[in-house]
């Protein structure tokens, strides 16, 4: 049962959290993980793909807009349609998934128009997922954000569907788990910090779990997310 999982971390030109994800998975959690170049097509062997944070193509047009046309993205929908395959997009990775239409909605500039790097609190809204099964419902996780365009937006119909189908996974909250306007750092609709697709195998989130892996960095809560995926895949 100690078989290691295979994580593939996609490197786009301008990705800059790729090495952090590798460290989190390989060095901290002792899994198999390697980089996948954005032009690669061969992604079948991985259990889980990670689209890391950064500034793919400088985020020059819109964050994630150009990266979604990378060659590797052509195989990604196929990958996602297979059984027992998972994708997690973090920050810029989330933005790419939105641009690619693999998750619904879009990102706007943070409401204060500034880049924000700090620890935030998020509640776990749904624990019945491959990404959060290690968490308790309503649990408050302390995980940093670092983005200028993380103000999640979707139209009302989409929002209602997300709510109805329980696809909102994380929401910005205060340290007591209260969902308040003040805790909504970037102005996201409904305080959304992370969502999942209908099938339940693609997660997009703005906070960086790979930055909350050891206590010296301020929190170990990020492990819960990775560990959930690992547990889930091992069990199935």
């Amino acid at each position: 049962m100690n078989k290691k999982l295979k994580f593939g971390i996609v490197v786009f030109p301008g990705s800059n959290c790729d090495a952090d994800c590798l460290w989190a998975l390989k060095d901290v959690l002792n899994q198999e993980a390697e980089f996948i170049w954005h032009e690669s097509k061969n992604i079948k062997k991985y259990d889980c793909l990670v689209l890391p944070g950064g500034f793919s193509y400088g985020d020059y047009l819109r964050s994630g807009a150009i990266a979604r046309f990378a060659k590797v993205m052509e195989s990604i929908s196929d990958f996602a349609n297979k059984k027992n395959k998972f994708i997690i997009g973090i920050c810029n990775g989330f933005q790419i998934l939105l641009e690619a239409g693999l998750l619904p909605g879009a990102m706007l500039h943070n409401k204060n128009l500034k880049f924000i790097c700090e620890y935030v609190n998020i509640t776990v809204e749904n624990t019945n997922t491959p990404f959060t099964n290690r968490c308790a419902k309503g649990q408050v996780l302390k995980i940093p954000i670092a983005h200028g365009e993380g103000n999640y937006y979707c139209d009302e119909r989409t929002l209602n569907t997300l709510i109805a189908k329980d696809k909102i996974i994380f929401r910005y909250c205060d340290s007591n788990g209260m969902i308040t306007d003040e805790a909504n750092v970037n102005g996201s609709i409904y305080n959304i910090a992370g969502i999942m697709n209908t099938k339940g195998n693609i997660l997009g989130m703005m906070p960086h779990p790979e930055r909350a892996m050891i206590k010296e960095l301020g929190s170990e809560d990020g492990r819960l997310i990775w560990q959930s995926i690992i547990d889930y895949i091992k069990k199935s």
Partner: protein, 753 residues
């Protein structure tokens, strides 16, 4: 066909910042009159920016050697050894003038430049620091500059993925027309992969990589060396636009080239672009270069040799590889979406030879451009004269009335621009990327983990222009001492530093005096602390017609925390019930303080004295106490004195994901209250220990001849300071609500960014 053989008039010489004597020397060097291209090349290379013609003799005073120094000044960056197989490369650089003109792009390209200086050495950048100075924060101009500069730094550093982990932000009227933007980068390099800017091996190709050459910043080098007059403000075409995405690609490609051993020498094209990079690389190798202007990749139409040679377009590098390896180099660049173009070759003859349309358009001995010992090199033997203003600059403490509204004064200080919290600045910087930032901004020094090694780096950037203005020598000493002190507060041994010397016009003997004395003070402190200078930068002409800036040397210190358990501490109180100890003595010093400026509106000396032996002993005490696990938190006392330092110890846990913790303090004193609470006596620190470790700390302190005074206990949600003057049978109490002072601390600067 361009005609460069134009008559060199006085007008043209003036435009090129060259005087008659220099011009005559050029004629002697060439044995003929220069054409306009050659004149441009000389002008750029002999500008203050590239030649260091005023500063070089003075800079010789710095100690630059030591057991940790792998690479001293003279290269793109200095490197220190860790004795663990890796070197730490770092350097600081100014981008003052460009940032004054165009704050966003100026600051952004400043970060870009210093990042390139690091990765050209083969080092991967792991941290950025920024040292910023502006005028009065209440003015719209300052707010505009502050906003632009901070967002420019954020834009660049965040995109490239290097954390901006520490800095300083100062507001003082003397910077109203000349803001200072200094940026520092630290990188780590495998010891056997260190690369230098050398063009070795005649016949080897010179390859150009990175962004295309445009007309950006032409005259940039001479522009940066001229006083910023209104007219210069209008020369807006020389603004360079930053492209951090290109930088990120260049960074990865460069490190891959070096990793695959394809690089003989490499240097970024900084000030004076292609001209300085190629001639410096040749000079260091004792070779020459031959470059074909037609081959240089250009962004704009009809660019001539003059423009191409002097362009300061950003994100470009020059590389020399072994002949035959061109294809391999190109392949790696292609992978990163970039191109490498062969634009020339290394030649044996020590000359700078430029061709355009098959014709030679510049032919200059390399040494004439780069070697300050060369006969005709325009080194200036400037003399300093003690400035008039220094004769009457000191006050007598007795002239200042002892105030009694101490709580109000405290509140005013804690919310003043120079003391209040800068969290809204660093919140815009990604200070966590690379997952190594163990101590986030908001402590004396940032602590950076080096994965896979028993090593942490600690770093801080510090300067105090006001001190240096009031007493250049002492101020220079304190700049070094404070940077080292901040680093040692984290538990690290300061190892070496880089420095950026921001001054006014060096041709003014009084400014030159400030420069000389400040450097002497810094050099003295460096020797005493055993922290050599490994790199640096000089920025002169920071003055407007109204005034020169305060002489502002900025010190970027790097220290090591070694050992398996990598013990380090932060500045804030960690637990309730810990014992608070004051290390060092408080003297009756109020001169030069933030208190004197903010409350009495006076910029007067004397600057607090500093005894370097005491300073070293204080640092040693802290380092030892932390290493042994005795000291739980440590914070030095600087701007705002003891009271402000205590408040910072109470509050700054909140910046690090922990809570604020109050304190109950009892002070026995025989000096006046304002000096006691707000004076800036040097070589002091506030540390906390567990009750059972107090004696051990006292032993370490007394061994080092440092006075350790138990002054209170942590806990509660107030900062209470009880002061007792036994001799005068008098006592006084400050009782402050942490929530209230936190709010005040968060104004001052945060509301403007």
């Amino acid at each position: 066909m361009n005609n460069y053989d134009i008559e060199i008039t006085d007008e043209i010489l003036k435009e090129h910042n060259l005087n008659k004597e220099e011009y005559n020397n050029i004629i002697k060097i060439l044995g003929r009159k220069p054409n306009i291209v050659e004149l441009g090349v000389f002008s750029a290379m002999w500008s203050e920016h590239c030649s260091y013609k005023h500063s070089k003799p003075v800079l010789k005073k710095f100690p630059t050697k030591g057991k940790y120094v792998l690479q001293g000044p003279g290269e793109n960056a200095g490197i220190i050894d860790t004795k663990l197989g890796i070197g730490i490369a770092f350097k600081i650089e100014s981008h003052n003038h460009p940032s004054s003109v165009e704050p966003f792009q100026g600051a952004a390209t400043g970060v870009g430049g210093i990042l390139r200086d690091i990765f050209t050495m083969g080092a991967r950048p792991v941290a950025i620091l920024d040292s910023l100075r502006f005028g009065n924060i209440k003015t719209l101009k300052t707010q505009h500059l502050l906003h632009g500069v901070v967002s420019g730094i954020a834009f660049y550093g965040n995109c490239v993925g290097v954390p901006t982990v520490a800095g300083e932000t100062v507001f003082e009227d003397s910077y109203q027309d000349n803001c200072l933007v200094n940026a520092m980068t630290i990188g780590i390099v495998n010891k056997n992969k260190i690369k230098k800017g050398i063009a070795k091996g005649a016949g080897n190709p010179i390859m150009y990589i990175g962004a295309l050459t445009g007309r950006d910043g032409i005259h940039g080098a001479s522009f940066a060396s001229a006083e910023l007059t209104e007219e210069n403000q209008k020369r807006r075409s020389s603004v360079q636009v930053a492209d951090p995405f290109m930088e990120k690609l260049l960074l990865e490609a460069t490190l891959e080239l070096i990793d695959k051993n394809l690089v003989i020498g490499i240097q970024d094209m900084g000030a004076a672009g292609l001209t300085s990079s190629s001639s410096e690389m040749a000079y260091r190798a004792g070779t020459g270069v031959e470059i074909d202007i037609d081959k240089v990749p250009k962004r704009e139409l009809n660019m001539n040799a003059y423009e191409v040679l002097l362009s300061e377009s950003q994100e470009r590098m020059l590389l020399v590889c072994k002949k035959g390896n061109e294809k391999k180099v190109e392949k790696i660049l292609r992978k990163w979406g970039l191109h490498a173009v062969k634009i020339g070759k290394v030649i044996k003859e020590q000359k700078f030879k430029i061709y355009e349309n098959g014709k030679i358009v510049a032919d200059i001995p390399i040494r004439a451009l780069t070697d300050s010992s060369y006969k005709y090199f325009p080194l200036k033997k400037q003399k300093g004269i003690k400035p008039e203003y220094l004769k009457n600059i000191n006050i007598n403490n007795d002239d200042i009335k002892v105030p009694d509204n101490i709580e109000e004064i405290f509140k005013k200080l804690i919310s003043s621009p120079n003391i209040s919290c800068k969290s809204n600045i660093w919140r815009q910087y990604d200070h966590m990327v690379q997952t190594n930032t163990f101590t986030l901004p908001g402590s004396d020094a940032a602590v950076i983990n080096i994965k896979g090694k028993d090593l942490l780096l600690s770093t801080s950037v510090d300067g105090n222009g006001r001190y240096v203005y009031l007493d250049p020598f002492t101020g220079g000493m304190i700049a070094v001492a404070e940077a080292a002190r901040n680093v040692s507060m984290s538990g690290a041994q300061p190892i070496a530093f880089t420095n950026c010397l921001n001054f006014g016009n060096p041709e003014d003997p009084e400014i030159f005096y400030q420069f000389q004395k400040a450097v002497e003070g810094m050099a003295y402190a460096a020797k005493k602390l055993n922290t050599p200078v490994i790199s640096g930068n000089v920025s002169f002409y920071n003055e407007s017609p109204q005034n020169a800036i305060y002489p502002t040397p900025v010190v970027g210190m790097v220290g090591y925390i070694k050992g398996k358990n990598k013990r380090y501490v932060k500045q804030y109180f960690k637990n309730e019930g810990d014992i608070i100890v004051l290390l060092g003595e408080t003297k009756e010093e109020i001169g030069a303080s933030e208190y004197l400026k903010e409350i009495h509106n006076m910029v007067k000396g004397p600057v607090p004295g500093i005894d370097m032996a005491k300073e070293k002993a204080l640092q040693k005490t802290c380092i030892e106490g932390i290493k042994n696990g005795i000291i739980i938190s440590a914070h030095d006392i600087s701007k705002g004195g003891l009271a402000v330092a205590l408040a910072e110890c109470c509050l700054s846990g909140k910046l690090h994901n922990e809570k604020a913790i109050g304190a109950y303090i009892e002070l026995q004193s025989d000096i006046r209250i304002d000096a006691l609470l707000f004076g800036e006596t040097q070589s002091r620190a506030i540390v906390t220990v567990k009750r059972e470790n107090l004696l051990r700390l006292k032993r370490i302190a007394s061994k080092n001849k440092i006075i350790a005074t138990e002054i209170g206990k942590t806990g509660g949600d107030r900062l209470i300071i009880n002061i007792d003057w036994a001799a005068k049978k008098y006592s006084k109490k400050l009782n402050l609500d942490l929530n209230e002072i936190e709010k005040l601390w968060m104004t001052g600067v945060n509301e403007y960014v």
